[in-house]
Symmetry: C2
Subunit: 186 residues, 2 copies
């Protein structure tokens, strides 16, 4: 029996952002609604319960803001366990399943890689990501080839769109790996 994450993708997004900087629930909601992380919901009914769960699991710790602030604001920071758990999630091996069903979560892991994982983690991640992409794309091509004649035009186009998206992602991994090899880059 495989041990599963007991934290959702949203939970890990929260952990990453709180690790970057101590933040309140409201800060996190604003971050989601005003940056490219807008694909996460900024609804209070998602964020606040998720924060309570993380706190109950001992991954974050919250305290009401000190005297200076007028409004009651609860600021969170990661605990040691939170950092360990985030790193464990982040540096998990890249599975074919992630590529097929969880691309966003994979990119979230990578986005925080330089900040929170060890030095070699990013290129290591990119290489296995690249490998899984390269292994998966031919399956899509094969399906298209053997089914294109009995697919509608829009069905065919939709599948081609998916293939192109994966190919773009694959090209991206190659360029990204190159930037880590050109070690002067900063």
């Amino acid at each position: 029996m495989v041990k599963r994450d007991q934290t959702s993708t949203l939970g890990f997004a929260l952990l990453g952002l709180i690790w970057q900087a101590r933040r309140s629930g409201y800060d996190l909601r604003k971050f989601f609604s005003s940056t490219p992380m807008i694909s996460f919901s900024d609804s209070p009914g998602a964020i606040y319960p998720a924060l309570h769960r993380l706190e109950q699991s001992g991954l974050i710790r919250g305290q009401l803001a000190e005297g200076g602030e007028l409004r009651r604001r609860k600021i969170f920071e990661l605990t040691a366990r939170g950092r360990a758990e985030f790193r464990r999630w982040q540096t998990q091996p890249v599975m074919q399943k992630d590529v097929v069903q969880n691309l966003d979560s994979l990119m979230l892991r990578f986005a925080f890689m330089d900040q929170f994982a060890d030095k070699g983690a990013a290129p290591r991640f990119l290489k296995s990501f690249q490998k899984e992409l390269a292994a998966y794309i031919p399956n899509l091509r094969k399906y298209l080839k053997s089914n294109r004649n009995h697919m509608s035009r829009s069905g065919r186009l939709a599948l081609e769109s998916g293939i192109q998206a994966y190919e773009t992602q694959l090209r991206w991994t190659k360029r990204a790996i190159a930037t880590y090899q050109a070690k002067g880059e900063r």
Copy 2:
């Protein structure tokens, strides 16, 4: 107050596939697990309850397979209301929100467009999709430009990956529109 869909994305995927051909729950599970629609879960705990909900809403109708078959198999087909509801969902206007948070659902709508919507629906959909993509991408570029100096390399790369994905999608819409204009295409 905006009226919401009372059917999930999975529900609409099921409706589309059942409209294509009468299918059982098991057929649908196999379809999800063996085609590029693998991004949908093939778990019985998702599929069977979803089918029961669609049946209760009167969007599909199931009947046990006729004499010929040995195992009990419940085959579903769409009702008139199911077809109407699918078409309504499919031909909804493309919103910025869909582009940002619901790309997959948008592509699902398009995949079935030629089969179930009227003749002009596909190019109309593509043009408004293109418009929303073209409007959204500059926001991402702007964010990257003003934040790149205080982002980590992996954070920057992750954002660039997102931008490239949207640009690929935008190029795809243009080519797709062209195929509908070259009216000889079959």
